[in-house]
Amino acid sequence: MTDFVLFDEEFQQIKEVIGRLKADAQAKVVFIVDKNGQQIAAQGDLESLDTTSLASLTAGNVAATDGLAKLIGEKEFPVLFHEGEKDNVYIAIVDQRVILVIIFDERSSLGLVRLRVRKATQDLERVFVAIQRKVEEEKERRQEGIDSPFAEITDEDIDSLFRE
């Protein structure tokens, strides 16, 4: 299975797209998580938020909903929406691989978020296609004998992580 690799250039592009989405949708927070629960990027008022836990729970939520979809014969549920008293969470699957999460309150609306997400999703898909291409190019280069930066990890490096 291929690892998911994120390079600086695409990271900046992703941040730009979700930053724009946050402004256009008048959201509080926008973040992107991969389907395994790793946070990829986030924009907005993050200080009061435990984004690591949010990422893991979002991925669990999507995984459970995906399981439900398959049970009733659907491919996936591409959008999930949770409505709260003050804050709402809108979750959309991008490119069947990553999860876009938007947290918003009464300053925005479900309709506006839905509209803005559509445009952002297309932009994000382009970035993730580019990442995939880059990872494959990288793999080819490695087959030509150019090593990954991790090829040089020594036993000593790993042991030092566990020294008290």
């Binding site: 690892d3 994120l6 600086d8 695409e10 669990g60 459970a64 930066p149 991790f150 990890i153």
Partner: protein
């Protein structure tokens, strides 16, 4: 599936604790959480029933330190051990980098251990992984119980591929960090090959 973030200079890995119901998976995570420096850990999340049985998963993010300029972050998950939660259990294995199998040393649980191991093998295969090649550690837990059967007998029944094996008593922490270190080490070794 390791997530290598060149932008943030981070390596993110996922480790799953697997095993039959009540074998001590959550207790392993709880001990790690209690004994880890606050700066190196996130919140321990438990999605459990009212009687504290794991319903979906427990989750603990840990920072282990820096390797070659990359921060190493490990996300530890447990699965619900009870047989009828298989659909949820399978979901947790998605994108896993390393597995710890926590076995219950009590004689009465040996069948449950074997069944759970078989279930692990199958669920990994359904995700495209192979237990024979994935980083894997066996933990023989509850060694302190009077009903525990001899460790070598357990090893004979549960050893899958000569994996590193540790005797443990999770509530007091015996063997807990040794198990974690052994699986983390294998996961990082795998990175070398990629």
């Amino acid at each position: 599936m390791t997530f290598i973030n060149y932008a943030a200079r981070e390596i993110n890995c996922k480790i799953v604790y697997y095993g039959p119901g009540l074998c001590g998976k959550t207790t392993n995570l709880q001990y790690i959480y209690d004994r880890t420096n606050p700066a190196a850990k996130g919140k321990l999340i438990s999605l459990a029933t009212e009687t504290d049985r794991t319903l979906f998963f427990d989750f603990l993010p840990l920072d282990l330190g820096t390797v070659r300029g990359f921060k190493t972050r490990f996300h530890l998950y447990t699965v619900p051990g009870q047989v009828f939660y298989d659909a949820s259990r399978k979901l947790i294995l998605k994108g896993v980098d390393g597995v710890v199998f926590v076995a219950d040393s009590q004689e009465a649980r040996m069948d449950a251990n074997a069944e759970s191991l078989q279930n692990l093998e199958k669920n990994l295969r359904d995700h495209g992984f192979d237990l024979a090649t994935i980083p894997y550690v066996l933990q023989l837990n509850k060694r302190d119980l009077p009903t525990a059967i001899p460790a070598d007998e357990m090893y004979r029944q549960l050893n899958y591929k000569g994996e590193p094996t540790f005797e443990a008593t999770a509530p007091t922490g015996v063997g807990v960090f040794d198990t974690l270190k052994a699986v983390a080490k294998q996961v990082l070794m795998e990175l070398r090959k990629k």
